[in-house]
């Protein structure tokens, strides 16, 4: 009973499996994109009824792309690709390599045919002319005999038949790279306040803390904005790396789209945030005497004003609408009601408009300690993925840009006439090929009709 086993093997390596399998994967992916993924249990309970929650959770639909189902489907797809290539490769390899091919069946629908006749006595000369003409207008022909008749065969682009294998093997390469990355690589995240170092990072999926094997320090973080707007221009961390007592990187920048890689571990600028309150440098100017006093102040303190009264920072934002940094201060002039005042850095004279109390205020600068948030990642499968990507592109270009085209010309004698029969077929793009085929037949016929002396 070897049959069923054999037919299962055939099924696993056939399109009868591939196409339904693709649709099942598509369905899973749609589900994974519509159901929010990897939220907390609490968040899901708000979205779904308890029963729906239970069912979806059991089916692993809250983490579709890492579910047993999905991974198994990808594995099945990989198996399908391997078996299909395994079965088809020898046949196609033979086709791509062979220099001749048997004359096509006359009934085949994808075959184009034309025939014309010449007097039988000029047959030998005609063969020579056909050869030259084919050589010049298509490809170098080879002679073969079919049913004791002479036949010429010429082909172009036979190697493009192999393109499909290049694509399929490359897809396997990408899947292998993804698997290697999942098993031996990691994705992690770390936050480092300015001036501090870390030697370990937290894995994004499991939350587990793992050692880096070296130490990384955030020397400085800076966010810059396009003039006066709140549109960020650049997020930049300066970091130093210390490995075994020596400095491996000194004040190296990490910006978005330009990560830093050390010993296979890459650091990407990902987020940032303030550490504690900013220190503001606010200048108070006495309107009467024009005398200025500079105050270094954090938002928790109150600063005394010369003479009497004081002010304190109520709120601070490093970016307010399109006016840059702003501090909201409360001024208590000592006599009269306290009042609230916005103080800008980029917009001067704003305070003039208020014109309250004996002092005018300007924000001269601010010092905000930041932390930087870095995505940390290690992926030994990356080169498999990249080479897979390159070969997929090359393979598709080869498959779609070229086509295996074949021309047969047979010559046989009948009733004192030599009948010349031209066949042609093309792996793809039959409409364009038909045009070419008709054109070629015209040329062949014209070349045969040339006067004797010119044709030889």
């Amino acid at each position: 009973m070897g049959k069923p086993k054999n037919s299962l093997f055939q099924y696993l390596g056939s399109l009868r499996l591939s196409i339904p399998l693709l649709f099942v994967i598509i369905t899973m992916a749609v589900a994974g994109s519509l159901i929010p993924q990897n939220l907390t249990g609490e968040a899901y309970r708000k979205l779904f009824s308890p029963i729906a929650f239970k069912v979806l959770d059991k089916l692993q639909l809250f983490d579709v792309f890492h579910s047993v189902w999905f991974i198994s489907l990808l594995a099945l797809l990989a198996l399908n690709l391997i078996l299909c290539s395994w079965r088809r490769f020898p046949i196609v390899w033979q086709m791509a390599r062979s220099r001749t091919a048997p004359l096509p069946a006359k009934t085949s629908s994808r075959i184009f045919q034309q025939q014309f006749q010449i007097p039988a006595e000029s047959k030998t000369a005609a063969i020579a002319r056909l050869k030259t003409s084919l050589q010049r207008n298509f490809a170098s022909p080879r002679e073969m005999t079919e049913d004791e008749n002479l036949c010429l065969f010429a082909q172009k682009g036979a190697w493009s038949r192999l393109a499909v294998f290049v694509v399929h093997v490359s897809i396997l390469l990408v899947l292998a790279g993804a698997l290697i990355g999942a098993v031996w690589g990691y994705r992690a995240f770390v936050t480092i306040p300015e001036g501090e170092s870390v030697a370990q990072v937290r894995l994004s999926r499991s939350g587990e803390v793992i050692p880096l094997g070296f130490e990384i320090r955030c020397d400085k973080f800076n966010v810059s904005f396009y003039d006066n707007s709140c549109r960020p221009k650049e997020f930049k961390s300066l970091v130093s790396i210390f490995d075994g007592g020596k400095v491996a990187a000194d004040h190296q920048p990490i910006i978005v789209n330009a990560p830093l890689t050390y010993k296979g571990t890459s650091f990407y600028q990902s987020s940032y945030g303030p550490v504690g309150n900013p220190t503001l440098r606010i200048i108070a100017r006495n309107r009467a005497t024009q005398k200025e006093t500079t105050h270094l102040i954090t938002s928790s303190e109150a600063a005394p004003l010369p003479g009497s009264g004081f002010f304190r920072v109520v709120r601070f934002s490093s970016c307010f609408q399109n006016m840059g940094p702003v501090a909201i201060i409360e001024v208590d002039p000592g006599e009269g009601e306290p009042f609230i005042l916005p103080v800008f850095r980029n917009v001067s004279d704003m305070d003039q408009a208020h014109n309250r109390g004996p002092f005018s205020f300007t924000l001269s600068s601010f010092e905000q300690p930041w932390y930087t948030g870095l995505q940390v990642n290690r992926d030994p499968g990356l080169w498999f993925v990249w080479s897979g990507f390159i070969f997929i592109s090359a393979g598709l270009l080869m498959a779609f840009g070229f086509s295996h085209r074949r021309i047969w010309v047979s010559i046989f004698e009948q009733d004192n006439r030599a009948i010349i029969h031209v066949w042609g077929d093309s792996q793809r793009n039959p409409i364009a090929f038909e045009r070419f085929f008709l054109h070629l037949c015209k040329i062949l016929e014209a070349d045969l009709a040339l006067p004797e002396e010119e044709g030889t």
């Binding site: 693709l22 994109s33 978005v256 990407y268 990507f389």
Partner: protein, 285 residues
């Protein structure tokens, strides 16, 4: 002369071309087709100039923060319209399918209208978008989308053609709308050819996007809705390409698959931007 003015002129020409091609459906006078097709060519020319001008304007307005006009929803819709017209022109030169235009031009027209309904402001790029990959990624993706759009139009034309062939017992030549469509086989071939081109371009789009995501976020694939949907589209067309070589998937079935593929493409472009949240949020209005 501003780019906005040029886009308005394009809209007018596209509308005129669309109307002329509709009239052609009714009267089938070659002259009318030629006029409509000429309007489409002019549209493509003016649109090209408009996109070039907007590129120039971005440098004028933003100085060194100027950039290729491929950075937000407005610019992407205009570019989508441009790619549709470009691919249509290429297909036309190869196959001369006279009535495909009546299906294609409305798409280009509505893409342009969609652009004009959204925010046209020129802004400097946020850090995540500051990368050479931006141009390669958007360019390949949208050319791919446009190829799928043309394939979808060819599939619809194919279905109309076959429907007409089936339903008519006593054909009245010249009276039936679908009778002037190119032969069904040509339409099926256009569908297939456009999908081959689109599939290659979408593959390049996904790969460049993936390389860029790796560079910017440290992950070449993170199952973000945009990534997932681009894979869904890719898988649908992969199924299409394989279905064609296996038996049982011919004619109407394959035409419907092409239409489904373009529906998924539209969801990948518009649906994901407006209905699902993710990393591509700068693509929304």
């Amino acid at each position: 002369m501003t780019s906005i003015l040029l886009f308005n002129i394009t809209t007018v020409f596209l509308f005129a071309g669309m109307v002329l091609l509709f009239i052609y459906l009714a009267c089938r006078k070659p002259r009318v087709f030629q006029a409509g097709f000429a309007a489409a060519i002019v549209s493509l020319g003016v649109l090209t100039a408009g996109i070039g001008l907007r590129w120039y304007e971005s440098y004028q307005l933003l100085g060194e923060a100027g950039h290729a006009p491929l950075s937000n929803f407005y610019e992407s819709m205009i570019f989508f319209s441009w790619t549709i017209l470009l691919i249509y022109l290429i297909i036309h030169l190869r196959y001369r399918p006279r009535l495909l235009g009546a299906l294609v031009l409305p798409l280009a027209f509505f893409a342009l209208i969609g652009a004009q309904l959204s925010d046209a402001s020129l802004n400097p790029l946020i850090p995540a978008l500051k990368s050479n990959w931006l141009t390669y990624h958007v360019f390949t993706c949208f050319l791919g989308y446009a190829a799928f759009a043309i394939a979808c139009c060819a599939a619809i034309a194919y279905l109309l053609k076959v429907h007409q062939e089936d339903s008519e017992n006593t054909p009245v030549p010249g009276k039936n709308l679908a009778s002037i469509f190119p032969p069904a086989q040509v339409l099926e071939e256009i569908n297939y050819q456009a999908i081959m081109v689109g599939f290659l371009l979408l593959t390049l789009g996904i790969i460049t996007g993936s390389a860029w995501a790796h560079r910017a976020w440290g992950a070449y694939w993170s199952w973000d809705p945009k990534e997932t949907w681009s894979l869904i589209v890719w898988l649908i067309y992969a199924a299409f390409l394989h279905a064609r070589i296996s038996r049982g998937w011919t004619g109407r079935k394959i035409a419907w698959l092409s239409i489904a593929g373009f529906a998924a493409t539209l969801f990948c472009y518009l649906g994901v931007n407006f209905l699902l949240s993710g990393l591509h949020s700068y693509g929304s209005m």
